[in-house]
């Protein structure tokens, strides 16, 4: 316990004393919980096995009658000694469904301290009065809502509940306060956020560490995408990290399901520095590729220890992108001219603007690393690499190998600092602004000068 780095916004001695006092209590609860978890894992394994067996059977075709499945095997194996109920293997096949339980009152958590006030909600640290576990409470901002429970908050809760993964922050429940406007998401408390963590580090992450973090982030993203969930706000401050080298994707405040047919989507998503070119150019039909672009930006940021593309506004962001990745052309991005905001831009063609400059920006990265980065930062979303493909990319196979999460350093706390610092970077677009933008090109660029100067590279507004 003592060797474990403590998160810097955890409270000091008092907390520690409390912690020790509870320790004994906790130990016995832990045992009970371990037993419960074991049973649950067993059940899940049985369900998975049954599903696999069923899938096999289905694949086997339908002309021959399906033979009895799995249960036979289960029957064939004698139940382990001490198991009273001979029907037990049968029962294990049944997955216990979640129950329909009303919201508990927020009182069951004892408030500790605020973590940070974000753009939509306030996140605080709290303790479960019953189990003593420390949790994070995110209060949803509902005061101004006149159309009932906001669809954005419904999406946040729904998508987070559906994204159960070791690298997605675990949602425990929703609790309510005294009025109908007090709604809180209860999550596991995670010690750090990657933004502040990397700002405070002396050196960037090691290659081996970057690989581990990337694999974790991408496997969580692959799960979301397989369920048609787009996160739409991946960035380092929304990636939490615990002291066991594990990343947890958080903040589903902009996430949503991609329906079929794709409903009209707002372009006003994703924090500027992580926003993909198709969004910046006003594309209304976009998909999971926007997350992959953000992951490319995060990859670069982990390597550089600073955000990769720090545009001052939308036009500047575009010019920074084109400066790094080259300008779009009909060859590298067929049809990009049709995007609403592309018509108004002139793309200067010269040696400096053609082709990618990634290699120069990352001189120490191996060529397969550069390959991965350039596929993530492909201008044309249809050519961008998918999450599943990233997981198979050779970059992760070559030396140095991904560092095992347990070998990650733990990060010490800074005494006295209770709140996470405000991030010195742009925040996610605020909902409600979107309608002004839609179809209104002037809304996007109107406030800017005719010429927007991005570091030594000029984008001219067409007339």
């Amino acid at each position: 316990m003592a060797t474990k780095g403590k998160s810097r916004w955890e409270d000091d001695e008092e907390d520690v004393a409390e912690e020790t006092r509870r320790k004994v209590e906790k130990e016995s609860r832990k045992k009970a919980k371990a037993e419960k978890d074991r049973l649950k894992a067993e059940q899940e394994a049985a369900v998975a096995a049954a599903a696999a067996a069923a899938a096999e059977q289905t694949a086997a075709g339908s002309d021959q009658p399906p033979t009895k499945r799995r249960r036979l095997d289960a029957d064939a194996t004698p139940p382990p000694a001490g198991q009273q109920d001979s029907n037990a293997p049968l029962k294990l096949l049944r997955y216990t469904p979640p129950e329909i339980v009303p919201c508990a009152h927020v009182d069951r958590y004892e408030p500790l301290n605020r973590i940070e006030e974000g753009s939509y909600g306030v996140v605080s640290r709290a303790r479960d009065r019953e189990t003593g576990e420390v949790v994070a409470l995110k209060k949803l901002k509902l005061e101004r809502e006149t159309d009932g429970f906001p669809i954005t908050s419904l999406r946040e809760i729904q998508t987070l509940m559906a994204s159960k993964h070791p690298n997605v922050v675990n949602i425990r429940e929703i609790v309510m306060g005294d009025t109908l406007k007090d709604v809180f998401i209860v999550m596991d408390f995670i010690e750090h956020d990657l933004k502040i963590l990397s700002e405070d580090m002396q050196e960037p992450f090691l290659q081996s560490e970057v690989k581990t973090l990337m694999l974790q982030l991408v496997s969580a993203t692959a799960l979301m995408h397989s369920q048609w969930i787009v996160h739409r706000d991946l960035k380092t401050s929304n990636l939490l990290m615990n002291n066991r080298g594990q990343i947890k994707v958080a903040d589903f405040g902009l996430a949503r399901y991609l329906g079929e047919p794709t409903p009209p989507l707002t372009q006003l998503v994703v924090t500027l520095w992580y926003r993909s070119p198709e969004l910046l150019l006003g594309g209304k039909e976009y998909g999971t590729e926007v997350d992959m672009w953000s992951i490319g930006c995060i990859f670069g940021e982990l390597l550089l220890k600073e955000p990769l593309l720090q545009g001052k506004n939308e036009v500047d962001q575009l010019s920074k992108i084109f400066e790094l990745c080259g300008i779009p052309t009909e060859e590298n991005w067929p049809g990009f001219r049709k995007l609403p905001n592309a018509k108004a831009l002139n793309f200067p063609r010269n040696r400096l603007t053609i082709g990618s400059h990634l290699r120069a920006r990352f001189p120490l990265l191996t060529s397969s690393g550069v390959d991965l980065l350039s596929r993530l930062l492909a201008l044309d979303p249809s050519q961008r690499i998918t999450a599943e493909e990233v997981l198979r990319h050779p970059y992760f196979k070559e030396d140095p190998k991904p560092k095992s999460a347990e070998m990650f350093p733990t990060f010490p706390s800074k005494a006295g600092q209770e709140k996470r610092r405000r991030h010195m970077s742009p925040s996610a677009p605020v909902r409600g602004d979107a309608p002004a933008l839609q179809g209104d090109f002037g809304g996007l660029f109107g406030a800017q000068d005719e010429e927007e100067v991005g570091a030594g590279f000029v984008l001219r507004m067409g007339r």
Partner: protein, 293 residues
């Protein structure tokens, strides 16, 4: 992936202890009012041109809600409105409270093919726009109650709004059994939609895979499509459960007929509001007393 195809279900205790019945609503009346609510949801959903996904989600939210809340505390009509409103957001087909309220008013006041509407010929002369027009004050009152009911629904189910539906699964199963035909699919979907009205709350007691298997089983039987023996086991459904569901689904048509008879002949109509439920209970009490005397 298990969680994706898995819905929260009612526990045995929840099914045995209805808050409405604890509140003095007899079981047959509760069953009847649940039917009325789901039927109004279905009819309104069709008029609002909502996809079946939205309508079915709405009916499931409605049923989950009265598992934990009493019909004497939360008015039937408000819950119907709120379930539709909430499911329209959850399934990304947002619908305005005004449209929902207009449509249910129309359905409850104007003769229509829906069993929930007044029978044709009863409100002669033919209805005029004025007869189902919702005055502004009524609209605002209903809207306020709709929004309150929405929060109550979310609160009572702990925001467990996830509802996996069996329709797509059913198609997949039929396909893997090489039994996919227009007729079989139509009938299967019919059974799945009927099952939303079942007095046994089939969607609160069975997972989508079991519902899909039962509907496919019935449809194939009706169309004379032969399937290999024991095929349901492949989809993790046991004979006993299948048998129960088949009886449940088959029974819906007769149940609906009975409900239509119960309400159509009666002047006082379905008690959509809280006071009407009280009046309905009072009438029953008086009648029971008269019977005993």
């Amino acid at each position: 992936m298990v969680s994706l195809l898995c819905n929260p279900l009612a526990t045995v205790e929840q099914l045995a202890s209805s808050p409405s019945q604890a509140d003095g609503v007899p079981m047959d009346l509760e069953t009847s009012l649940r039917w009325a609510g789901c039927t109004l949801i279905q009819s309104a959903g069709i008029l609002l041109q909502l996809p079946q996904k939205t309508i079915a989600t709405s009916a499931i939210l409605f049923q989950r809600f009265y598992l934990l809340s009493s019909l004497r505390s939360f008015a039937l009509l408000d819950t119907v409105h709120a379930s539709l409103y909430l499911s329209s957001k959850l399934t990304e087909h947002p619908t305005k409270p005004r449209d929902i309220i207009n449509v249910t008013s129309y359905l409850l006041l104007t003769p229509s093919p829906s069993p929930i509407s007044p029978p044709p010929g009863k409100t002669d002369p033919p209805s005029t726009p004025e007869s189902y027009y919702v005055p502004e004050s009524t609209y605002y009152a209903q809207r306020t109650r709709l929004l309150a009911a929405e929060t109550s629904i979310l609160k009572s189910c702990g925001f467990q709004t996830h509802a996996s539906l069996p329709y797509t699964l059913c198609i997949n199963y039929l396909q893997s059994l090489s039994a996919l035909s227009g007729d079989v699919v139509r009938r299967s979907f019919g059974h799945l939609t009927d099952a939303l009205l079942s007095p046994s709350l089939l969607y609160l007691t069975h997972q989508p895979n079991a519902l899909a298997v039962a509907a496919a089983y019935l449809a194939c039987r009706e169309c004379g499509v032969k399937l290999p023996g024991g095929w349901w086991e492949v989809f993790d459904v046991e004979r006993e459960e299948l048998g129960f569901l088949v009886v449940g689904m088959r029974g819906v048509a007769q149940f609906v007929d009975e409900q239509v008879k119960v309400w159509r002949g009666r002047g006082e109509g379905i008690p959509w509001g809280l006071e009407e439920v009280d009046m309905c209970l009072e009438r029953r009490r008086v009648m029971d007393e008269a019977m005993q005397a």
